[in-house]
């Protein structure tokens, strides 16, 4: 145990985040009315500090800590960086909304920090136990956040559904893991991989365990046919929390899938590929088609999220390094777009007006031209229109599919993207071609608006320089 000090040093980002979250929790109790402001600013500072710290520890090789429970590799660094940034941006967007609804309590930021800690743990997990603990830490915070507006019956219903289905998903995942443990005698991802590589016979029990793991992952991702909770949770949760749920768990689900399927079970590639094909095809089709029928914008974005999840999984199922890199690229870009789109909704909603229905967006092009333009860019990007980075995100996924000879999947994805463009463009139509019912003047703190502007413009900037991010993703997953 002489090396415990070195282990802790390697896991310093997690240690600092945990210490800071606990400190904020206690301090904000004693700060009285200033507790919320204190929690907000110190959370931003901590996330910034952790991001810088993670950035400085970038290494090209793998290092292990705590035996081999903790892995420090480029993928972990990348996901941790993005997670810290995402959490900070979400906090900035959410604050005016929470203040306007008088839900500005420090617990929002504390739970948010703990959820971020969960993602960090998952990013560095090299053992089934840690994957599971990180996942539960994240999920538990999310369940509580969904019902943050506790007098809302919609939110309570959404939270119960999320909790029950999330628990079932965790159960599935655990069951799969336990069978794999029974078969291989190890919980360590590298040992499992080695054991699977040396096996001589095909065991149907392995596929059986794999099925449970894939089902658990699909549940957490919210992919069809395990998507029932997504629209209800997006709809029922306060918009600021929906913003959080639409972004952070996607990063977590991505890194969890890579850790489990690629690091641990790459030997079973052909088996999980078939399962993922079914999941992705259904997700891309159902997500895009059902989104057309939605009149609530949060539900529409929920179904759109399902179709984007389908795209991310399309990258993963190709099983190649470039496919994984394309999937990471897509995940990051999707998180950027979802943060922006929900950020605009949160901003408008924090002006004291309901922003749940599509028709609420009517005439925003006139009354709030700048943020309508941001929303337009984000919708174009989600649809994959050129001049926005969403185009490249889809392109790289299709490229990886074609490289691996799955042309029919690529064609299906393109057809469904075209169908999906309809409901994204409908948002633009409402904003620019309809007369407003009432005028809306956006006021509020400049911080959220500045961040939102940067967020929207990044969609264009990254279109001009997509290779910087793609090269990074390729390097991370090589």
């Amino acid at each position: 145990m002489e090396s415990l000090g070195a282990d802790v040093m390697l896991a310093l980002p997690e240690v600092i985040l945990l210490g800071a979250a606990s400190t904020v929790l206690v301090l904000s109790l004693y700060a009285g009315r200033a507790g919320e402001a204190l929690a907000f600013w110190s959370s931003l500072a901590v996330l910034g500090a952790v991001a810088v710290l993670v950035g400085f520890t970038t290494t090209p090789q793998e290092t292990f800590a705590f035996g081999s429970l903790y892995i420090h590799d480029p993928l972990a660094v990348a996901v941790k960086l993005f997670a810290c940034l995402t959490a900070a941006v979400v906090f900035m967007y959410a604050r005016p909304y929470l203040q306007q609804r008088s839900h500005a309590r420090p617990e929002f930021y504390v739970l948010g920090l703990f959820a971020t800690l969960g993602v960090l743990v998952m990013a560095s997990a090299h053992n089934f136990i840690l994957v599971y603990l990180g996942l539960e830490l994240l999920s538990l915070c999310l369940y509580a956040l969904v019902v943050f507006e506790r007098d809302s019956s919609d939110a309570s219903e959404a939270a119960i559904k999320y909790f029950v289905l999330g628990a079932i998903a965790s159960g599935m995942l655990l069951y799969g893991m336990s069978i794999l443990y029974g078969l291989t005698g190890s919980l360590d991802l590298a040992e499992i991989s080695a054991h699977l590589g040396s096996r001589t016979t095909d065991s149907i029990a392995l596929v059986f365990a794999l099925a449970f793991i894939v089902v658990g992952l699909a549940f957490k991702f919210g992919a069809v046919p395990f998507h029932m909770w997504v629209p209800d949770v997006y709809h029922g949760a306060p918009t600021a929390v929906t913003l959080f749920i639409a972004t952070m768990p996607k990063l977590a689900a991505f890194v969890m899938t890579i850790r489990l399927l690629s690091n641990g079970l790459q030997e079973l590639l052909t088996d999980w590929q078939q399962m993922l094909v079914v999941v992705t095809v259904l997700s891309v089709i159902f997500g895009n088609v059902i989104a057309i029928a939605q009149s609530n914008i949060k539900r529409m974005l929920a179904y759109s999220a399902i179709s984007h999840i389908g795209f991310i999984l399309l990258g993963i199922l190709s099983g190649s390094d470039f496919g994984y890199a394309a999937a990471l690229f897509y995940t990051v870009i999707y998180v950027l777009m979802a943060a922006g789109a929900f950020g605009v909704l949160v901003l408008f909603a924090s002006q004291g007006r309901s922003m749940d229905r599509l028709v609420d967006l009517k005439g925003l092009g006139k009354s709030s031209p700048w943020f309508a333009l941001i929303m337009l860019l984000l919708m174009f990007s989600m649809a994959g229109v050129p001049l926005t980075v969403g185009f490249y995100a889809k392109l790289y996924i299709l490229q990886s599919l074609v490289q691996d000879g799955m042309l029919w999947l690529a064609i299906l994805a393109i057809v469904m993207s075209v169908i999906g463009a309809f409901y994204y463009l409908r948002v633009v139509k409402y904003m620019y071609f309809d007369e407003p019912d009432e005028q809306l003047h956006v006021r509020g703190p400049g911080l959220a608006q500045a961040a939102l502007s940067v967020n929207g413009l990044l969609v264009i900037v990254l279109f001009v320089f997509p290779n910087t991010l793609l090269d990074y993703c390729v390097r991370v997953l090589n």
């Binding site: 282990d7 903790y70 739970l111 703990f114 840690l130 078969l183």
Partner: protein
């Protein structure tokens, strides 16, 4: 060996039956009691596996603390049984069919030789299960152990966030104020003329 198998099958049967009874009995209090029985029998199975500490913890924590709380909650709630059971008979055949199919598939698949792993050697009678677990938890698994603690902390924070309400009209004691109270705050001596 034979005695061990017999004991195992006895407890396993009781476990499965009590779990079944737990979800089928009408009275929720009975259901909780059946769950207690299920926990007890699984604790006994832990003991058979030489996991004494886990078995005893299961009894102490689940039966002793969690289930007692549960019983209190169930007794305090006024649960409408008729409404909860509505549709039970309608969904029963489908549920049974799906359950039976899944069970059959699982039995067929899991009955493969892949699970034939060497049995661990029985430990000496003075072997301390608790000490071994403790050493593992605080050395090799200290990181996940701490994380499990964090999860419990989050659960506390979440529960308090969801339930604590500062009501304006709520009456609560302020001990410091109570201690500092002075005679003249409470008692007023009025001199009155005798009549």
């Amino acid at each position: 060996m034979l005695v061990q198998s017999a004991v195992f099958y006895f407890f396993a049967t009781v476990l499965v039956l009590s779990a079944l009874a737990m979800i089928t009995v009408r009275n929720p209090v009975h259901a909780v009691l059946f769950l207690v029985l299920a926990f007890f029998t699984s604790a006994a199975i832990w003991l058979l596996l030489e996991a004494e500490f886990l078995g005893i913890t299961l009894v102490l924590v689940y039966v002793g603390a969690v289930m007692v709380l549960f019983l209190f909650v169930v007794m305090m709630l006024d649960i409408n049984l008729a409404r909860m059971r509505a549709g039970f008979a309608r969904y029963l055949p489908v549920g049974l069919l799906v359950g039976a199919a899944m069970a059959a598939e699982m039995i067929v698949i899991l009955n493969t030789p892949a699970f034939d792993r060497p049995r661990p050697e029985p430990k000496a009678p003075d072997h301390s299960n608790t000490q071994e677990l403790g050493e593992l938890l605080f050395t090799e698994y200290v990181y996940p152990f701490e994380l499990a603690g964090v999860i419990l902390l989050v659960a506390i924070v979440a529960a308090i966030t969801l339930t604590l309400r500062r009501r304006e009209r709520a009456k609560s004691q302020r001990p410091s104020k109570q201690v500092r109270v002075d005679k003249k705050d409470r008692v007023r001596l009025v001199s009155m003329d005798s009549e």
